[in-house]
Amino acid sequence: MILLDRVTKTYNKNLGPALDRISLHVEPKEFVIVVGQSGSGKTTLLRLLTREERATSGKIIVGGIDYDKLHDRDIPLLRRKIGTVFQDFKLLPNRTVFENVAFALEIVGASKREIENTVPKVLDIVNLKGKEKRMPQELSGGERQRVAIARAIVRQPKILIADEPTGNLDPKHAWDVIKVLEKINRYGTTVLLTTHNQEIVNKLKRRVVTIKHGQIASDRAHAEYNPKA
């Protein structure tokens, strides 16, 4: 589903690479947690996958799309196949919960009927039924993040990338968000989650990829995370 082969990303030649010859293979329907301290290269890795950044060298293939052969004009099509969730939610503040989720469908030209059918179902999945008409600022952080997740999965992507989705949340709300991600994964979506929350990693018991100084320090199935390791 996701294949990285000796991928290097250098922003500034004087500072050395942010990612240094990273190789990673993620199977379909897998749930992978990427951990690492700030500045380790986690976010760079995700930005390469969404093609917000371009790799300096190496090969990236996601869902059968070879990024070397991807034209700029096809980037929107790529992003439609990948759901993305951000630490700061990135919701539209002047639109309701329903409209925020519908937005992702409007962009791809879905009909009004399609939108009215799909959005409530997805809001149900993320446990936000009945809050369709709320504005984002009327919601808690956890609820906002679940709106963002609903928006990311409403087009039924094969892959969901979540960049520190719990970073701004208290433990209870963070766990709500993680539970939704697990649910989505059970439905068959590949999930790539970055976090530096040790508790979440330990509770989830999933494959953990640790990045340190731009390199993969460890890659273990059902691992527990020890930041000092």
Binding site: T10, Y11, N12, K13, T50, R51, E52, E53, R54, T56, D72, R73, I75, P76, L77, L78, R79, R80, T84, F86, K90, L91, L92, F103, A104, E106, I107, V108, G109, A110, S111, R151
Partner: protein, 316 residues
């Protein structure tokens, strides 16, 4: 196909909503566009008015050929048909001695003593041929033809003659028209550039205001045209609005000033014709204004968004 239609509809609707929301921001852009389009409209009307005046005066310019009394009617007719064959001649009117006298009397109807004198002297007015040139600049060629030896013999000593003062008036107007046309073109270009820059600025501000939304759209996989579309629609609305305002404005000027316009005349200039021209071509001018407004609006927003909506995937 259906999706494309839905998308187009959404783009237009978003553009409309954004226009209404950003009305204050749009005001400067619309105002300058109204000025630009009004100048263009005035230039066109003024140009038509000057052209019309020149034509009118030019129609009155003719070369008069006076025939000697000894010339027979057959000779005169032969001469007339020879003149008609000239390429530069638009029209030829032949007046016999009798007709020329009648015309003269008619022209000087108020002058009783002059009329009496003419009758008493037994009609001193010569038979006359009026030659109207196609183009005023060809008067010289016509003159040359008329003064060939063969034809000069038929004419009186003061023939041929043409009204030089009118030629001079036409030259003056033509000259003034050319200058005004140049000023008009310069003004149009200057104001068009200014309005493009102001629309540029407006769109850039609108992009800045909506940068979060644009970023989110980008991350969710919106195409460039989906993001750009509403901005283009918004500026097209500016164009349509400005075209309508400027046309109505000029119309209002003509309606309120129509009385005084008819009373005024700058020398030979036929001012009332400008109103006539404007109202006669009202729909055509409105269509032209709309086209120009839409073009200026769309072009500036396409350029403005091109700079800011590029995919930033640098290869460092």
């Amino acid at each position: 196909m259906k999706r494309k239609f839905i998308t187009l509809f959404r783009i237009v609707r978003t553009g409309g909503v954004n226009f209404v929301r950003g009305l204050w921001l749009a005001l400067a852009a619309v105002a300058i566009m109204v000025i630009t389009l009004t100048i263009i409209l005035f230039s066109i009307v003024a140009n038509a008015t000057f052209g019309h005046t020149v034509d009118q005066i030019a129609n009155q310019v003719d070369v008069s050929v006076f025939l000697q009394d000894s010339v027979t009617d057959a000779q005169a007719q032969q001469f007339v048909s020879a003149i008609r064959k000239q390429a530069d001649v638009k029209r030829v009117d032949y007046l016999t001695k009798q007709q020329a006298q009648e015309a003269f009397v008619q022209q000087n109807g108020g002058n009783q003593s002059l009329q009496t004198a003419i009758v008493e002297t037994g009609n001193p007015i010569p038979a006359t041929i009026h030659v109207y040139p196609r183009d005023l600049n060809q008067i010289g060629a016509i003159n040359k033809f008329l003064t060939t030896k063969q034809y000069q013999a038929l004419q009186t000593s003061d023939s041929p003659s043409y009204n030089g003062d009118r030629k001079k008036a036409i030259d003056n107007i033509t000259h003034a028209t050319n200058i005004l046309r140049q000023i008009g073109i310069a003004a149009v270009i200057i104001f068009a550039v200014i309005s493009v820059l102001i629309i540029f600025n407006t769109i850039q501000m609108a992009i800045f205001n909506r940068r979060d939304e644009i970023q989110i759209m980008r991350l969710l996989g919106a195409t460039t045209s989906y993001i750009r579309g509403p901005f283009v629609v918004e500026t097209i609305i500016y164009g349509i609005l400005s075209a309508a305002i400027s046309t109505l404005l000029v119309n209002a000027v003509f309606v309120t000033a129509s009385g005084s316009l008819q009373a005024t005349s700058f020398g030979l200039l036929d001012i009332s014709y400008s109103q006539q021209f404007f109202q006669g071509h009202y729909w055509l001018l409105l269509a032209m204004q709309l086209t120009l407004g839409i073009l200026i609006g769309a072009a500036s927003s396409v350029i403005a968004t091109r700079r800011y909506l590029k995919f930033k995937t640098p290869k460092k």
